[in-house]
Symmetry: C2
Subunit: 358 residues, 2 copies
Amino acid sequence: MLHIQVPSLTLPDRKKRVTIKDVAYAAGVSTQTVSRVMNNFSYVSNETRKRVEAVVEEMGYRPSTLARSLIQQRSYTLGVVTFGLKYIGPSQTLNGVADAADELGYMLLMKEIDAFDLSNIDNIIGSLLSRQVDGVLWVAPEIGDSHAWLDKSLEKVSVPFVFIAMEPREGIMSVVTDNYQGGVLATQHLLDCGRKKIGHISGPLTWWEAEERKRGWRATMENAGLEAPEHHCKEGNWSSASGEQAFNQLIEAFPDMDAVFAGNDQMALSVLREAHRRGIQVPEQLAVIGFDNIPESAFFYPSLSTISQNLQLLGKTAVQTVVEMIQTRQENQILELQSKFIPPSLIVRESTSPTRSP
Amino acid sequence: MLHIQVPSLTLPDRKKRVTIKDVAYAAGVSTQTVSRVMNNFSYVSNETRKRVEAVVEEMGYRPSTLARSLIQQRSYTLGVVTFGLKYIGPSQTLNGVADAADELGYMLLMKEIDAFDLSNIDNIIGSLLSRQVDGVLWVAPEIGDSHAWLDKSLEKVSVPFVFIAMEPREGIMSVVTDNYQGGVLATQHLLDCGRKKIGHISGPLTWWEAEERKRGWRATMENAGLEAPEHHCKEGNWSSASGEQAFNQLIEAFPDMDAVFAGNDQMALSVLREAHRRGIQVPEQLAVIGFDNIPESAFFYPSLSTISQNLQLLGKTAVQTVVEMIQTRQENQILELQSKFIPPSLIVRESTSPTRSP
DNA sequence: TGCTATTATGTTATCGATAACATGTTATCG
DNA sequence: CGATAACATGTTATCGATAACATAATAGCA
């Protein structure tokens, strides 16, 4: 790493924070009155209010949210546990979360987990709780028994908890894309294009979402009186590299396949590439559809049909849900815990376009 | 949105937090002693320590970081201001930030900004400061005069501040990818492949990073005694759609162009696609190189040569830097403020491969 | 053996704000 | 006109922890 020297300034004077006391003193009132002005509380005379406001403005006073959180037992902060931020999906969800949180006046305290080190989950949640978060969003996929800790640990958590992309469970609030429905949409679209020999490249089947998409594929095939045997499906790991491998295996096992439903767009990209390499025309000989609608997919060659999941809406809904839970609890009421499904939608592009058939 | 009903549990009992007092009382010691045990302070007898630890374990006590932050004037929390989370670049950076923060024992308080509403910046920073963050990371690109507020506002900020992807400035700490060097690497590579008529599709030139990449292109061309006139460069807006348009204009204005350096991989993707559409062979007739090394780029057809910027390292370095600043200040010392450059690297794939020439 | 250093623990003040309560003043009304 | 309500403001307690200071018991040493 090279360093380029830039002339440096000196240490900024570490002036201390302006506190409510400073303001009170300067305005010649009690701290309580300042507090009342800051919180727009009634029972402050106009004259006093103006005087205090002027001092606040002049001194650049901002109440310490920290101190306020302590006394009010409420921080207006949500804990967010994320996984796989370096991928586009989770970060889009986070984007939705951040937006909604902002709108509703909450900040986000983030914690990323990089693997499912189950033993550490208590610590992660603990570190959020010790900072008084009002609620927690779990923005991490469900993989294998990654959510096994729920049974032991969740009951100890004393704040509202909302899961994103988790298999609905009794008594737990979750917000999820309807992946099954997505699988149905994709497969039905291929059927509607006149294809009958439809293969599937799934994500890792330890992922609940991958399993659901596959389930949608199979159910739709069977509903149409067609076959969906195991050897018409290969498992990838979401990466383009795995998609390449899976497709090559699939085409060997299923040579007269006329359509592929890939579990995500990255793997679909590899299908397009390998098909091209093998001289298979897309969509004429092979229709291809992906899942996720990543921004690039519209510019693949040919452009990729796909299932769009509205991750930003997902994130937004999760925030709204957790905030609702917080308020409900504040009022000591009981909220029904039900999972919310966000429906995905079909996006038709060249890779399945019937108009491009010969 | 469809809702699926799941049987609901009742309201979890809103048990209140276990405080240090509860522990002290249960263990028959003063709160101070509990505090000493929790902080591994010396001067606690073994016997007492064990007793307290047992009670802590049994009651599930966790100190309130909030209360601790208040008295210690130190929160072990960093403020992070992000922009464009829904894109892959910023979120990779954030990934690096999150990793490093975790390692160093800091949490992240996030605030996303969606537009450069300059008037709101004071508020954003204020909301972070009012939560006692120990430092702030500004993870947002510099666009036009988006950083003009620095002059007015930064001086009022009393905590260390580190900028990512900002033009180095006097007296301000920033960590940046050396975009100029990236432009040089890309262009030089094309020259090394024997190309001489090299066009450029830049990002929006209001972005400092786009400007730097372009500057690298031009300087390298001129260094090699070649031309880099204005009409050999078109401006895009980073999107694939804009890349398509820019390439089509560029090829009109510069018909005998034999290589393109695109400002990012999304735009490069469109170049590949449009070249294909026009029957231009890549790389034989036209070599193409991108910037960013998005995961998909290795699977484009042909696979895309590109410049990789190590965004995770960028984020990590920024965190290390801000933490260093925090510590330095704690000790009342002065730290030299210098910008740090993260060097990008060249990744050669098929789209510029000399071995694929006819 | 008496004095200081070390160890062990407790008490009180403090961080910056709001809650709860108290007090005084001005309207309102029968 | 006196009682009560509404307004205006101040005082003290509190949130959950640690800092700073105080005290007591033990140990080491001249």
